[in-house]
Symmetry: C2
Subunit: 477 residues, 2 copies
């Protein structure tokens, strides 16, 4: 496979388009680097009028990532027309940058030969990302249309589990033995035209092709030709097992500030390389996913078909309906108290709501801390103690505030004491549930972001109603 589509041939002559580029960027982008609505309207109008040339003139200064954004921003029913008008501006790189759902929309219209050509232009990992979600028959048609070498690379990547390092890695990399000198490495790189042209580090391997170290290109470039790689390389390196989950890969890149990392098979042999540009979007996705999972919004992709979104969210709502019914049945136990003092019905929502808010605060902190590997057996008790102290302080403060406030409004000392006590107790429940539930789920290998909120809400709602109405029944009726 050759270098990525967005890199101009380094051997060709660059054309002098700087100033035009900057002007074009100002015409097409707003200050947040988003495409302007006016620009989209102009492109859509040109396509509508059948003026493909004008559409292409408008779009051609854009970076492939921006062309992908353009296709995502326009209504789905217009995408095929616009893509057709833009022709080869919608190349391999654009396809690989597209949102999964938008891509599926578009590539349905392409011939297997065209897709095979795109895949051949991309790094293995980007080609796999395009092909992996296709139906098996379509996938086979594309693979059949590819050159044997490219096909072999993709087939072996597809043999690794989804979302594993094996899918994420590219197979084109530079590896040399440690006895080579800087000069020999440079000559080797200059003489081998079929090597990848985009790499950031060179791996040093032993006779069995196991990595023994790596060297940044900057070290090679700043050293005399005679220096041996053995004296230039760094031996401590982070190796990525080929079956490692991509989330774990992303955490390693982040923790150790990696630019690229060698991927090894079970025998420790070098089989591929992952570069940080392929990991950056995973870091962002994984960090952003927690909020969506915690809210029951699934993957939260705005390009997902509506019916799929409906289904995901509905499942969550029905689960929460169950917890709401439990809370309602707690209230049901106190119907006679409420008949007697209907004011309680108005105030009980404050107790459960404040507990829910406090619980969500703790939960958000814990889910983030767990996702970023900040919680271990060493500090779990400390975290529990910390959240308990916070809950006690906030509960006491809110209880006092609410107690005094309600006394000023209703002038009933008993009611205010019950109200304040229930608020304090429910804050403690919220703090403990907010830390214990995600920690327990995580220990049992359940994703705390997916399941915690239901349990925490159930606790704060039910316990809020129970303490408030229970205390009211005992002391006020």
């Amino acid at each position: 496979m050759s270098e990525r589509g967005d890199v101009v041939d380094p051997f060709g002559h660059g054309d002098d388009t700087d100033d035009i580029m900057i002007e074009a960027a100002e015409a097409s982008h707003d200050e947040d680097d988003r495409l302007k609505p006016e620009f989209l309207t102009a492109v859509l109008a040109a396509v509508e009028e059948g003026d493909s040339e004008k559409a292409r003139d408008l779009v051609s200064p854009l970076h492939p990532a921006d062309i992908a954004d353009l296709l995502e921003l326009i209504p789905s029913e217009r995408r095929a027309d616009v893509a057709a008008a833009l022709g080869d501006l919608v190349g391999a790189e654009v396809i690989s940058e597209l949102n999964d759902y938008v891509r599926d929309d578009l590539i349905g219209a392409l011939a297997p030969e065209q897709l095979a050509e795109f895949a051949a232009e991309l790094d293995t990992d980007d080609a796999v990302a395009i092909i992996e979600d296709m139906e098996e028959a379509d996938q086979q048609a594309v693979l059949d249309a590819m050159e044997p070498e490219d096909r072999a690379a993709i087939e072996s990547a597809l043999a690794y589990p989804e979302e594993s390092a094996g899918r994420l890695m590219q197979r084109d990399l530079v590896a040399v033995p440690e006895h080579m000198t800087v000069g020999q490495v440079i000559d080797y790189l200059r003489d081998n035209d079929d090597l990848t042209r985009d790499f950031w580090e060179i791996y040093i391997v032993d006779a069995a092709h196991r990595p023994v170290g790596y060297s940044q290109l900057s070290w090679i470039l700043t050293c005399p030709r005679g220096v041996a790689m053995a004296d230039l390389m760094k031996r401590e390196q982070t190796l990525i097992p080929v079956d490692m989950d991509q989330e774990e890969v992303a955490l390693r890149f982040q923790k150790y500030a990696l630019i690229s990392a060698a991927v090894v098979d079970r025998a420790g042999r070098l089989v591929g390389m992952i570069t940080v540009d392929d990991v950056v979007h995973i870091i962002s996705e994984e960090a952003g996913e927690d909020i969506l999972r915690l809210s029951g919004a699934g993957e939260g992709d705005i390009n997902q078909p509506v019916l799929l979104t409906v289904r995901t969210r509905l499942v969550w709502l029905v689960v929460n309906l169950g917890t709401a019914m439990i809370a309602a049945s707690v209230v049901g136990l106190f119907e006679r108290t409420i008949e007697h003092l209907a004011l309680l019905a108005a105030l009980m929502g404050i107790v459960s709501g404040m507990g829910g808010n406090a619980g969500t605060q703790t939960l958000a902190v814990m889910v983030r801390a767990i996702a970023t590997n900040q919680v271990t057996g060493s500090n779990t008790w400390r975290m529990i103690g910390r959240e308990f102290r916070i809950a006690a302080t906030n509960g006491a403060a809110l209880g006092t505030l609410i107690g005094i406030g309600s006394y000023l409004i209703y002038g009933q000392l008993g009611l205010s004491l019950v109200f304040a006590t229930a608020i304090l107790i429910n804050n403690l429940v919220a703090g403990l549930a907010g830390v214990l539930i995600p920690v327990t789920l995580d220990r049992n290998n359940v994703d705390p972001a997916v399941a915690s909120a239901v349990f925490v809400t159930m606790m704060t709602d039910s316990m809020g109603f129970l303490t408030f109405l229970g205390l009211a029944t005992i002391f006020l009726t």
Copy 2:
């Protein structure tokens, strides 16, 4: 400034410690790459016994990022002792990897001369990160202890706004004029010992030091000596203005898959370089922050002093108390209806709760989409329509389910119809509020993650109570 502390001198001889490293990693780390509790206990025990040498033996195989983790995981009152026992293992790199609060704890004990020495070992951006949060007098003491050249670099970085590209960039970079050839560039790199040894791309500048293009090191290494940089470089490049916000910088790196980018001043002159390893933690933080902000948990740092956390969260809870009181006052309007039919008090929480859940789903999706620049004027209406359709479908499904379910339980057709209708209406309210509120806040330059949840909850609670109890008052009493 010289290269980062974690890079061994590329000119020194690597020592043969591979196997030892791997064994040590297994003894100290669990399968998720977190430090094992047993390992921490062993280190703490060694320090307690005054056996610094044993503690150092245990810790010395660790990567600086892991030593930083170690210091974060141990209780705060033990940190100074452990750091003292570890001595120079807690070097510049470890200090720069530490959580801000833990670092403030530790560097209070260090002399300005020591801090100045650390800062001199780091890239400008890491040195600035250590120094920028110090009290002004302490900051001045450290700067006074530095070499004039290092001091100048840090002072000029501190002159840029916090969280701007100017703070994030390093000033050590390689820039060459475009008439140079590959051979001349390599000779220049070999001959200049005071150049940085860690860089990934070379910038090509004009006579006024304005960047006109860049070249990846791999392109230089794979080309013959005679090729001119003008023929090798890529002229289209993403330039980062020095006053750009770091969040925007992170989004650019992500969108255009950058490894490094040139930073320019207002006159377009090259003043620095940002590399992806310094951006990766910002990408993760910014993506993770939304969940914390949306939940009112502030920055959600588990190392923050408890009182600071209490204050942040309490402010949020008091604001939410206001919205809960508004919802309670809505319920208060219907006290006579509730006295008449106390069952309503049990069921009304289901209506408001289901609305709250649906609103949170929409809100989470919108906050993420806005934060990742996926929402523009071009697709706002489409997003509103999409969420409305989802809300209508889910509202109808839940309303039907709840209507039938409640009829089976209570056998009151009127009640069930009121219940179902209220659920449907509140779902529509939730969907519209969940999309309109964050979009409106964003257009008015208010961070939707901070302020949206309060308004959405207020809408779903109040409207849930109003529709359910209002319909019940009209039709059931």
